[in-house]
């Protein structure tokens, strides 16, 4: 395997991905990611020196619309989906001491 993924990299990616992996999952992720990157490295065979990266299959311009309220007040319905709510608001864990 050409791509060796270190413990530090998996830790770092775990922070970016907001995932907490078990030791077993970390080992699996290291080997999976290494194999995928080996495979993706195949793209290096292609000369893309003067190629513009394409994010959309056909040209799209900025799409604008009026910033006008069209929806209705659905607060209570929306809060029904919340794991925890109080007085019409989402409850979140303490974010600072």
């Amino acid at each position: 395997m050409a791509n060796i993924i270190s413990d530090e990299t998996i830790e770092y990616v775990g922070i970016l991905a907001k995932l907490e992996l078990s030791e077993e999952e970390k080992e699996a992720a290291k080997s999976d990611m290494g194999r995928m990157l080996d495979y993706i490295d195949m793209l290096g065979e292609l000369d893309t020196e003067n190629v513009e990266p394409m994010s959309h299959a056909f040209p799209v311009q900025n799409v604008f619309r009026e910033d006008a309220v069209t929806g209705t007040d659905m607060r209570d319905l929306i809060l029904k989906n919340a794991p925890e709510e109080k007085d019409g608001m989402f409850v979140v864990p303490k974010t600072f001491e």
Binding site: A29, E45, V51, P53, A57
Partner: protein
């Protein structure tokens, strides 16, 4: 299957319009069919018996008043569980959305409702549409009605199997890398991925936003054209929705391919393609040739590079799109946690399955500082090259014909152990999403084992009419 559940969607729609079949009767028949066989196939995550019957009575009344003119009015449909349905559980087949009830409707579903469709329920899928077998679903795998020891394909496996098993008249699926066409092929039904931007993605829970597209899974080509006509159209709620004039795709259903030039990519028939699939697909090309189309082989090039480019882009977009699942506003929240960040991490780690986590990790890596140019940007450049290869092909041909998948449906439990091998199964479908093209999968025979095999037709962007005309001609002549 009863007489009603044997009808294709347009035939049932006609019988309903003529007053020969009541919408409530059709809905009851389908609910009965689901009760009889879904324990075996597991096509549905949610069956909305009450909602379907209520909607059936309403639709029947509106038909009688002459308010509904759509050929699909009153016809029962199943919706893949990644499209938001107002007031009806929408899980994406994930634990993290196990209790999510949307407060709004996806545009594709609301267009079907406007046409008088009756929604039977929500179909099983690979978790967040990440997979090719419907085995990554939190709610257990779906089985292939042709042989329940085999997978139905994926990720729209529940939708394809429900159509094949007579558990709905037609279904909606979504296709990010083949997720409509491949299960259609494995289950022996018709599935079309329209040109990117044809059907609004509003309310479709995003996986790879630049690749995702909603489309129909049906019993035949005519149904597919009618359903696409109903769901297509510009939507200001989706900024990538194409601002084009509404089309009636059923007008393209004529038996005539004399002006159609078909190209068969030689590269699609190389190593890895099952010989039985190859011979059925070539036989399909012969049918079109005998019907008057010109058929020749050509070199498409870059075929092998589509998979690594796709998985880089799709994983990158997925890692970003799935950031919203944080245990705050909806869905699963872990029970024990210390502080906000630990709550995020634990909720997500417990809520997502292995394949989803694998792609989020890969996506986060390829977008991370220091690797962005080498991986993500490189993949976007390769995407441009692939698009160019298709542009050159479509300068010469109207239709590209090839297989949908390298083999018929594999057995349950055979695919997930080796992700790269599973990803290789997407080789014929994936480049279509990168290039934004429309593609249709049509049944073209069965293997010696009795498993369905599909042929795939591709056209240039916005050339769905050519696709439908060629597909219809094949269906009539085969």
């Amino acid at each position: 299957m009863s007489k009603i559940t044997q009808m294709d969607a347009l035939t049932l729609g006609k019988a309903i319009a003529a007053g020969e079949v009541k919408v409530t009767e059709a809905t009851e028949e389908y609910l009965k069919s689901i009760k009889e066989s879904d324990e075996k196939y597991n096509c549905y995550v949610t069956v909305d018996e009450e909602g379907a019957m209520k909607s059936a009575s309403d639709v029947q009344a509106r038909i009688e008043k002459g308010e509904l003119k759509s050929p699909l009015a009153g016809v029962p449909v199943a919706i893949k569980d990644n499209m938001c349905t107002e007031g009806l559980l929408t899980t994406c087949s994930s634990k993290i959305l196990y209790n999510f009830v949307p407060t709004y409707e996806s545009t594709a579903v609301s267009k079907l409702r406007d046409a008088g469709a009756v929604i039977l329920g929500k179909t099983n899928m690979d978790e967040f549409a990440m997979g090719s077998t419907t085995e990554t679903s939190y709610f257990g795998p779906t089985k292939n009605p042709a042989n329940p020891e085999h997978v139905p394909g994926g990720s729209s496996g529940g939708s394809a199997a429900a159509v094949a098993a007579g558990e709905c008249a037609y279904a909606l699926g979504s296709d990010t890398g083949g997720s409509i066409r491949q299960p259609a092929s494995y289950c022996g039904v018709v599935g079309i991925k329209p040109t990117y931007g044809t059907v609004s993605r509003y309310g479709l829970i995003a996986y790879g936003s630049s690749l995702d597209q909603i489309g129909p899974l049906t019993r035949n080509v005519s149904d597919a054209a009618a359903v696409l006509t109903a769901i297509a159209g510009h939507d200001e709620k989706d900024s990538t929705s194409v601002n084009a004039k509404a089309k009636d795709y059923t007008k393209a259903l004529t038996k005539d391919v004399k002006d159609i030039k078909i190209g068969i990519p030689r590269d699609y028939f190389g190593e890895g393609l099952d010989p039985e699939v190859a011979s059925k697909v070539r036989a399909a090309a012969d049918v079109l040739k005998n019907a008057g189309a010109s058929v020749e082989e050509f070199d498409l090039s870059l075929v092998n590079y589509a998979i690594p480019a796709y998985y880089t882009i799709a994983a990158a977009e997925a890692s970003s799109n799935l950031e919203r699942f944080d245990g705050i506003k909806y869905g699963y929240r872990t029970e024990d946690y210390e502080g906000l960040h630990n709550m995020y991490k634990k909720s997500r780690s417990e809520g997502f399955g292995a394949e989803v986590k694998r792609r989020i990790m890969l996506g986060s890596f390829v977008l991370s500082s220091g690797y962005y140019d080498a991986y993500y940007l490189k993949a976007l450049k390769v995407k441009a090259l692939i698009k160019k290869a298709f542009d050159e092909a479509f300068a010469k041909y109207d239709i590209i014909l090839g297989p949908v998948a390298p083999t018929p449906a594999p057995k349950l439990g055979e695919s997930l152990s080796d992700p790269i091998k599973m990803y290789l199964g997407d080789i014929y479908t994936i480049s279509v999403n990168l290039a934004g093209l429309p593609g249709i999968s049509l049944p073209c025979g069965t293997s010696a084992e009795g498993l369905p095999i599909g042929v795939q037709l591709l056209a240039d962007c916005f050339e769905e009419e050519k696709l439908f005309r060629t597909a219809y001609t094949y269906e009539q002549c085969k």
